[in-house]
């Protein structure tokens, strides 16, 4: 009798594990993954790449790009010049050359005509950090090209090479946000959502910052960009290699590239080490790609904080980018 009771208990344990796993799978598959598709910019951009965009102009980069560029203003300017092209702001938070590598193939497959890469000194330092979630999110949607993976470390490769079951387990960290979005979407219609809530799929004017820092706050933070911080050295580090790889791949696929050194607040800019600046520009000169420096173009009033532009900033800067695109387009590229 004892053995039968033990067997029944063991059977109950196995049954409980199975039911829990099934419930977990259903939650992840029908709530979390659906939400990630709608609300995670990394996945929304991959969806975007899967649509054809022949002849369009893409602007990629970090939050400096998505805060600093209004694609509608660029399109307006181009249209006035007789250039009817769609422009898309595909900036992503904390984007760097290394983090864009896994998505490069998909970007190329959507066949844009021009890609503008917005860069900053931070993008070419020796840091190789990539936000874990970004790698895990795209891991199921990208091809595992071995070539660029030599630039990533073991942890990053492991995240990219997650199996479907590992990814299923990884996505548990999005459960709470997904449930929140699920309830929010039931209670409110999607068109009533605010700018922040539709950020993921906004490829035109995805800016988010609303309040400007005071001067004293900027001075305080500007100090952290001391002469020895965020250095760019002369050696060819993984970020630089990643950028070269990206440029090479884009050009091989007949996609024109322009590099823009994004504007930054003078409180940041004044604290950049001269050798950093020199190494940065020396490297850009070796790429063979046209680049333009807007670092010190604007006063502090045009910035919400020490790095990101505000309304005045993007309203002024976006037409500058449009001018660049116009001149290249008219030269026949």
């Amino acid at each position: 009798m004892n053995n039968n009771s033990i067997n029944v208990i063991i059977a109950s344990i196995i049954f409980s594990i199975i039911i829990a796993l099934v419930a977990y799978f259903l939650l992840i598959h029908f709530v979390v993954e659906v939400d990630l598709q709608k609300n995670q910019r990394e996945l929304a951009i991959l969806d975007f790449y899967e649509q054809p965009h022949d002849g369009d102009f893409f602007i990629i980069g970090s939050s400096l790009v998505y805060e600093g560029i209004d694609a509608y203003l660029i399109e307006d300017y181009l249209q006035k010049q007789g250039i009817n092209r769609s422009v898309y702001n595909l900036g992503m938070s904390a984007d760097k050359p290394l983090s864009r590598l896994p998505e490069l193939e998909k970007l190329i497959s959507s066949k844009p005509e021009v890609v503008v890469i917005g860069l900053n000194y931070d993008d070419l330092t020796n840091s190789t950090n990539i936000y874990d979630d970004r790698l895990a999110l795209v891991s199921q949607r990208i091809s595992r090209d071995e070539e660029y993976q030599t630039l990533l470390n073991d942890t990053q490769i492991k995240l990219l090479k997650q199996s479907p079951s590992e990814n299923l387990f990884y996505n548990r960290k999005f459960i709470l946000t997904s449930i929140y979005h699920f309830l929010r979407d039931i209670l409110f219609k999607r068109e009533n959502l605010n700018r922040g809530e539709t950020f993921a799929t906004n490829f035109k004017d995805p800016w988010n910052l609303k309040t400007n820092w005071t001067e004293s706050e900027k001075i305080e933070v500007g100090k952290k960009y001391n002469k020895n911080a965020t250095p760019v050295f002369s050696d060819l580090n993984p970020q630089k290699k990643a950028l070269l790889y990206t440029l090479n791949k884009l050009q091989q696929n007949n996609i024109e590239v322009i590099i823009v050194n994004m504007p930054i607040d003078p409180y940041y800019s004044n604290n950049i080490n001269e050798s950093t600046r020199q190494n940065f520009f020396d490297f850009l000169n070796t790429t063979g790609v046209p680049w333009f420096d807007y670092e010190r173009e604007y006063p502090s009033d045009f910035f919400a904080d020490t790095e990101h532009m505000n309304v005045a900033g993007r309203t002024n800067f976006s037409p500058k980018v449009a001018e660049l695109l116009t001149s290249f387009f008219k030269k026949g590229m």
Partner: protein, 503 residues
């Protein structure tokens, strides 16, 4: 081998199958011995030799003490045994700390070269199995137990894998009698063990590990934050350390229960303590009773006058702090708790005959005030435990004691951290309001109605784990399903190691 790893589950199932197949107690104990050493080897590699050394020394010492007829000779053997057992612990745990102190002192002395630090790895569990061994030797010396005749049984007691790495500190008198007969794995101990293990997993991997990022974010740069954040982090750390440690203990007790052994409980609702003395009867019970029985009483306890009692208490608590780690903050924490205990002893004695301040005040309300005041001081102690840097510690203590409600932004530029804190503070404001309202309703109910107080006391003190383990199978399965589901959903990515592994 972590408790939540696939390897451990395979290991545990193997042990259970072998125990179940081999009915004879000697074979079962042989299996337990081999598997426990294997478990320790996978965790600590060649430190398994140290485990064997501690086991052998303490076993032989027990034999020699028992066979010695002369009390002076017994004392000498005991002293040698204690020194031999404490040398490895002292070396691995306190050598670098001692060198640091020596190097600081020597700057005031005539020329002495700096002694070098060594790159030492602390063997996991050394504090726990050393103390178990010490308790065996001392209990034989005091005549409380007879030495174990079979060395392999004693070795099972010391190396028993559920409690080997982080306690509880088991006494020989509690464990060795259980080895007299064979164990069988029955439905009752299966259900009891798994119920307890699941609850332990939830406490550690859901509650404690989810508190950790917020606690680490604030205490890594505490001077960036005001009182609200510091107090928030302190409360969260109190929850984290309780759930981490008691979660481990529940898992250990549950595993032992599966195999058919009963280990002593180590926690009993410590955050419901009404005074510091009661706290130490409810927190890390096996450690505090070890400190009481083998240090405090050995120093004289309360038998040599008031001043000496206070001295013995303070020294015992300083050593308790030191046991937790070779760092000043642990010593300060231990000393602080010693002061709390002294103060409680003092006022209990002095106020025995003083009439109650507000005689008409309900006993329920008094009880709640006592609990809240006690926990205020206990949580203040957690700041000392958690914050290693002394100036950061003083900052946090000042923010805890003297409330600073300056809500200006944390230093801008720490984007990830600011996002975390803003999320916490946004959520915290609602949780805070809800908590205050709920607390007022609760106090009112308590003031008005003894019935509710009894209900609440019952809910807070009842052994729900036992109740759940006794449920009919279908409801117990539902419990298991829900717990596993919660674990799947809520375990964070990289789970930090159990906090008490480092001790």
């Amino acid at each position: 081998m972590q408790f939540n790893s696939v390897e451990f589950f395979i290991f545990l199932i193997t042990v259970l199958l072998l125990i179940n197949c081999l009915r004879k107690s000697q074979y079962q104990q042989a299996i337990l011995l081999v598997t426990s050493y294997l478990f320790y080897y996978t965790t600590s590699n060649f430190f398994v030799i140290l485990l064997l050394f501690i086991t052998y020394i303490s076993y032989q010492s027990g034999e020699f003490i028992n066979s010695a007829s002369d009390p002076a000779r017994k004392k000498v053997i005991l002293a040698i045994a204690l020194i031999s057992l404490l040398i490895p612990l002292g070396f691995f745990k306190y050598y670098n700390f001692g060198i640091e102190i020596f190097n600081q002192i020597k700057t005031y002395l005539i020329f002495y070269p700096n002694l070098p630090n060594l790159d030492l790895i602390l063997p996991i569990g050394i504090s726990f199995f050393t103390f178990s061994a010490i308790s065996y030797v001392v209990d034989i010396y005091r005549g409380k137990i007879e030495p174990e005749k079979k060395f392999y049984k004693y070795a099972v007691f010391i190396s028993y894998f559920p409690h080997l790495l982080a306690g509880p500190i088991v006494r020989a008198g509690q464990f060795l009698p259980q080895l007299k007969k064979s164990v069988s794995i029955g439905p009752e101990n299966l259900k009891n063990g798994i119920t307890l293990m699941m609850w332990g997993f939830i406490k550690k991997f859901v509650i404690a590990d989810n508190c950790a990022p917020f606690v680490n974010a604030i205490f890594s740069h505490p001077t960036d934050f005001n009182s609200v954040y510091i107090i928030f982090a302190t409360i969260l750390f109190g929850i984290q350390i309780y759930c981490d440690f008691s979660g481990y203990i529940d898992i250990a007790l549950g595993i032992a229960e599966l195999i058919g052994f009963h280990l002593p409980k180590n926690f009993f609702r410590p955050y419901l303590s009404k005074n510091p003395t009661e706290f130490w009867r409810r927190w890390n019970i096996t450690l505090s009773s070890f400190i009481r029985d083998y240090i405090y009483i050995s120093l004289g306890g309360n038998r040599k006058g008031t001043i000496r009692t206070y001295f013995n208490l303070e020294v015992s608590m300083l050593l308790c702090g030191l046991w937790h780690g070779a760092a000043w903050n642990f010593i300060i924490w231990g000393g602080y708790h010693g002061v709390l205990l002294l103060f409680h002893k003092f006022i209990t004695k002095r106020l025995k005959f003083v009439p109650k301040l507000i005689p008409s005040l309900k006993e329920n309300f008094r009880l709640i005030i006592k609990i809240l005041v006690t926990q205020y001081f206990i949580f203040l102690g957690w700041i000392m435990f958690r914050v290693g840097n002394l100036s950061d510690m003083m900052y946090c203590i000042s923010k805890y004691v003297f409330i600073d409600l300056n809500f200006s932004k944390p230093k801008p530029g720490i984007w990830g951290l600011t996002a975390i804190i803003e999320t916490i503070s946004n959520l915290g404001i609602y949780i805070g309001i809800f908590t205050i309202v709920a607390f007022i309703v609760f106090i009112t109910l308590v003031l008005l109605n003894d019935y509710w107080m009894q209900k609440i006391t019952y809910i807070l003190t009842h052994d729900w784990i036992q109740n759940i383990a006794s449920l009919p199978l279908k409801y117990w399965s539902a419990y298991l399903t829900i717990m596993i589901f919660i674990l799947l959903c809520c375990t964070p990515g990289a789970s930090p190691e159990f906090i008490y592994y480092q001790f």
